[in-house]
């Protein structure tokens, strides 16, 4: 990165994403396993005018729970019931995290990973498509 005067470097390969940032503001890396397989691409960003020494990379694995189907996303089992999970909730593989309704059938979606819900990415009552990210899990 020093050699090419880069401040940000991002690479995405099948099942893995790495982002390196240097500079004072860098709360550096997220080495992010990405669920969507895609061709490897490297994205060099514009060089900074005052290069600083690269900071140590802190790896915070963020996993994604993606939709396995097309349907409508619901946070809870019914409109007045509380959500299955919220940010901060601990999940294991079998934890039901949401419902996706397809053709009047309510499908319970399991986490299929373990960790703590970091982010809710889909909106309650809104349609989701195949491969859409529903939750980010730390």
């Amino acid at each position: 990165m020093e050699k090419h005067d880069l401040s940000v470097f991002e690479i995405e390969k099948e099942g893995f994403r790495l982002k390196l940032e240097k500079g004072a503001s860098a709360q550096a890396a997220a080495a992010v396993p990405s669920a969507a397989a895609g061709p490897p691409k490297a994205v060099p960003a514009a060089p900074e005018t005052t290069p600083a020494a690269p900071k140590a990379i802190e790896s915070v694995p963020l996993k994604e729970i993606v939709s396995p189907m097309v349907g409508t996303f619901y946070r809870g089992p019914s409109p007045d019931a509380p959500a299955f999970v919220d940010v901060g909730k601990s999940v294991t593989e079998d934890t039901v995290v949401c419902i996706i309704e397809a053709m009047k059938v309510m499908n319970e979606i399991k986490a299929e990973t373990s960790g703590i819900i970091a982010e809710v990415m889909a909106e309650n009552g809104k349609p989701v498509q195949f491969g859409q990210v529903l939750f980010r899990v730390r």
């Binding site: 409508t72 053709m103 498509q129 491969g131 859409q132």
Partner: protein, 461 residues
């Protein structure tokens, strides 16, 4: 008229349907696989929903996900295109039960024509000539000899449970028939667990001529003439033309009437195509019916001055046949070349990959139906068709020379395409003379008679 249509397909036909919808003021919803994120049909549709991973079985063939997308998108109708679920009676049934109009025939009509044996029975009943053959299973060698004598050699012995060209034997005389009969049964038993065979006359070097049917929901059925699709490689159509160089007005009348009669007898609705084999003596035989819009519908559109996809949508919406379709007459001559991502110099090996630069020809009488563009990556998961080029001319030779001119301008880099092959065909004497049959292309290729050097054009990219 529908307010919103879901297009359950991809590639050039999805784009074709979207264009027709836009012209009719209908909103469009595209469904796509992860491999088609950058596809033109997805980009041009009003809305789009990803329905699965790249393999067709995980996306374009997933009925439940398509219906879910239809429900979310609140569509009135689904256009199935061709291939994929277009001739799947179960899919048509699911649409019917979900109150979403399937733009095509009823699942019942689809089922009737989908069973090739049953279709032949329908044809016989409607008085349409079918390839002469045994009227059912042939049990003994003596029966086979008797039937072969009646229908005349050469004959084909076909496995009743067969398919994909397997369990088929040809016999040119009685001695070879005896051994062929037994080995066909043996092979059928091993391959399909069912030794039953039937006999069919082998039509030598036929023309493949098909008739376009258009039928509305009010019982009106017309035909829009024929297309000659005899230029085939390994049973895949490559070049089509309308009208057929073999056709005469009286033959067109006979075949057209037969086609209409058959379509009426199964209560057909929407567009469809009846395929015939025509021998050297201009005798025609029903082969099968395709209950969908076809790839080569374009040349009929150019010659009969109509938009078949818009007509499909109108018919599905309950409108009667448009007057200009019902009374269409042929003018001009049209040819279509299917441009595939294949290398003609390497046995037509598929060549998916990124198109670095794409320039398509234009000018008077040139039509391009294509979903590709500069920078587009042709995926490896689906068929290799990347473009259809159609030329129209006042005469057949005009259309051919226009195609020759247009192909010489067609500039695609990054992948190999079949453009050079088509350019060579437009210069081939037999093709230009209209002197061809379904065996011509394979013969020319194996004899190495086609100059497959790339066209001379070089563009500054």
């Amino acid at each position: 008229m529908f307010e919103k249509v879901l297009i359950a397909n991809r590639g050039e036909i999805a784009l074709r349907v979207i264009r027709a919808c836009k012209e009719l003021g209908i909103r469009t919803l595209a469904v796509y696989s992860e491999a088609d994120v950058d596809s033109l049909h997805v980009q041009l549709a009003d809305e789009s929903i990803c329905i699965g991973a790249a393999p067709s079985l995980e996306s374009y063939l997933k009925i439940d996900r398509i219906m879910s997308a239809a429900e979310i998108g609140d569509v009135d109708a689904i256009h199935p295109g061709y291939g994929f679920l277009a001739e799947n009676p179960h899919f048509a049934e699911v649409c019917e039960s979900c109150n979403i109009k399937f733009i095509g025939p009823s699942s019942r009509a689809m089922q009737a024509m989908g069973d090739k044996n049953a279709a032949r029975a329908f044809a016989r009943k409607a008085g349409v000539p079918v390839t002469p053959g045994s009227d059912g299973i042939v049990e003994t060698e003596d029966e086979a000899i008797r039937i072969a004598k009646k229908i005349g050699y050469p004959v084909m012995i076909k496995a009743s449970a067969g398919g994909g060209g397997r369990g088929m034997r040809t016999a040119h005389n009685e001695p070879s028939l005896k051994s062929a009969f037994h080995s066909a049964r043996h092979e059928a038993q091993k391959a399909f667990g069912n030794e039953q065979v039937y006999l069919e006359k082998l039509i030598v070097n036929p023309h493949h001529i098909e008739f376009q049917i258009v039928a509305d929901s009010h019982g009106r059925v017309v035909h829009l003439g024929e297309r000659d699709c005899s230029i085939q490689r390994r049973n895949q159509k490559v070049i089509e033309e309308c009208p057929s160089p073999l056709m005469t007005p009286s033959l067109r009348k006979k075949m057209g009437n037969a086609a209409v009669k058959l379509a009426k007898s199964v209560g057909y609705e929407n567009v469809g195509t009846i395929e015939f084999l025509v021998d050297q003596e201009r005798r025609f035989y029903f082969m099968e019916m395709n209950t969908r819009i076809q790839v080569e519908h374009t040349i009929t559109e150019e010659v009969y001055a109509c938009d078949l996809v818009k007509e499909q949508i109108r018919i599905a919406a309950g409108q009667p046949l448009s007057p200009h379709v019902a009374h269409a007459v042929p003018r001009l001559h049209a040819i279509e070349c299917r441009i595939n991502a294949e290398d003609p110099a390497r046995d037509f090996q598929a060549t998916p990959g990124r198109i670095d630069f794409y320039y398509a020809p234009g000018g008077r009488g040139v039509r391009i139906d294509s979903h590709v563009y500069t920078g587009y990556t042709v995926p490896s998961y689906y068929d290799s068709l990347i473009a259809k080029i159609i030329t129209v001319g006042a005469t057949r030779i005009n259309a051919i020379d226009r195609m020759r001119r247009a192909l010489d301008e067609y500039y695609i880099t990054g992948i190999k395409t079949t453009v050079p092959f088509h350019a060579a065909m437009m210069r081939n004497g037999d093709f230009r003379d209209g002197n061809y049959d379904t065996g011509l292309m394979d013969r020319l290729i194996s004899a190495g008679k086609l100059d497959l050097a790339s066209p001379p054009i070089r563009l500054r990219e």
